[in-house]
Symmetry: C2
Subunit: 237 residues, 2 copies
């Protein structure tokens, strides 16, 4: 049989296939806390529980998996987050009551300000601090996905400045250090932190300063490729 004949006769339904979804763990940093975006589930299964933004791939709308993740995040936040990375794919017969299911999980970062107005305007989307997560019942295995995303981001904080994407476009070095400390779960040496960022020339000094109690801090923005830079040596943990 030729390949063409094979394709004409191919029946996608011949074998039972898993359900497949794409979910995202979207983090931000606000008021000194690390927060995750949760969505209240409008439909079964797990109706009424809170879970990660995501859903089935739309074969018409989505031309890639990251497209699908970004489409959902845009729906829920009003913006395309500046950082998204594929985390891991989870699959098994138990994680969804409808049957064998697979979810491709993404990890993303956005500033609180970028989506504040959009999120304030809807009732079924909220930022939840990672501390409060323990007191909320989450849908499916989403608690595990958040744990894994957090651990990955923690590693990133040790050898990159990717966490800067959880801040507004313009930020101070002490603010950035705070995000890293939140993720790593440990205080960092101011000097070490600044030194490595300066030496790698990852930030642009805007020339402006921000003042509130004490000496004003210089304001920086990330260079275009700064998110892709990895230090050769990790911070201690």
């Amino acid at each position: 049989m030729s390949e063409q004949k094979y394709l004409e006769n191919y029946d996608k339904q011949e074998f039972e296939a898993p359900l497949i979804t794409v979910d995202s763990v979207l983090f931000t940093c606000h008021e000194g806390e690390l927060k995750v975006l949760l969505v209240e589930r409008a439909n079964h299964p797990e109706q009424g529980k809170w879970g990660l933004p995501g859903g089935f791939v739309d074969l018409q709308l989505d031309s890639s998996l990251s497209d699908s993740a970004l489409r959902r995040l845009k729906e829920k936040t009003g913006v395309i987050p500046p950082y998204i990375e594929q985390l891991k794919t989870y699959g098994g017969p138990q994680r969804d009551k409808r049957g064998w299911s697979v979810t491709v999980c993404y990890s993303a970062l956005v500033s609180f300000q970028a989506c504040k107005s959009h999120i304030d305007s809807v009732a079924d989307v909220q930022w939840v601090s990672v501390e409060q997560l323990n007191y909320i019942e989450l849908a499916f295995d989403h608690r595990q996905l958040i744990v894994d995303a957090r651990e990955r981001l923690r590693q990133k904080a040790l050898y990159s400045i990717v966490p800067a994407y959880a801040l507004p476009e313009v930020f101070t070095l002490p603010e950035l250090q705070q995000v890293h400390e939140l993720l790593i779960g440990k205080a960092l040496q101011k000097k070490s932190f600044r030194r490595r960022i300066e030496q790698a020339e990852l930030l642009i000094d805007t020339g402006d300063k921000r003042s509130e109690r004490g000496r004003p801090a210089s304001l920086y923005r990330m260079k275009a490729d700064a998110g892709g830079f990895n230090f050769i040596r990790n911070l201690e943990y």
Copy 2:
């Protein structure tokens, strides 16, 4: 409607879903070369081309995605590889002629010896050195999956001794260094390489030595948790 009623009425076929497969890039090191396991495709599509070991998830046999990957690798090599890690998931409408498809890709390592007899006994499975890959037409986007797996393993070689899983259970330090050099694509300082492994106490000296031309080399085996260890400082590249 109750969740129970919802589940009873749920029709998995209601929405068109992507095809979903699991593929693995299995590496080994043999005769100073890095090699990848390829399988000749018996069926359409891409019949006759060589591709990665993998296939559709079997909802009865597989209880997780890694199960599915390991089942295929066992079929093709006769053994369960000692190292497997999820690499990345690829999805889109173009990568498989049958339609929108997703593949969850794993990266794995095994010693050449462990599966030599099994692989020699079948005609549709072979080790191909990464150099030769350029001259072989590969199915789907498998060339890209191999490139990505190799790049990930290259990174691992800079901060871990995961590449040791591409060697037999017992190996010498010069052998291990050679695998790292193959992956990183650069000669390493003998002293630096040995020092970090010694200091981290990742290997057990078997007490035996292997002799062939020159001073005999000590034989080591990995400690149980050595694959999970990461150095805080990378080798240069």
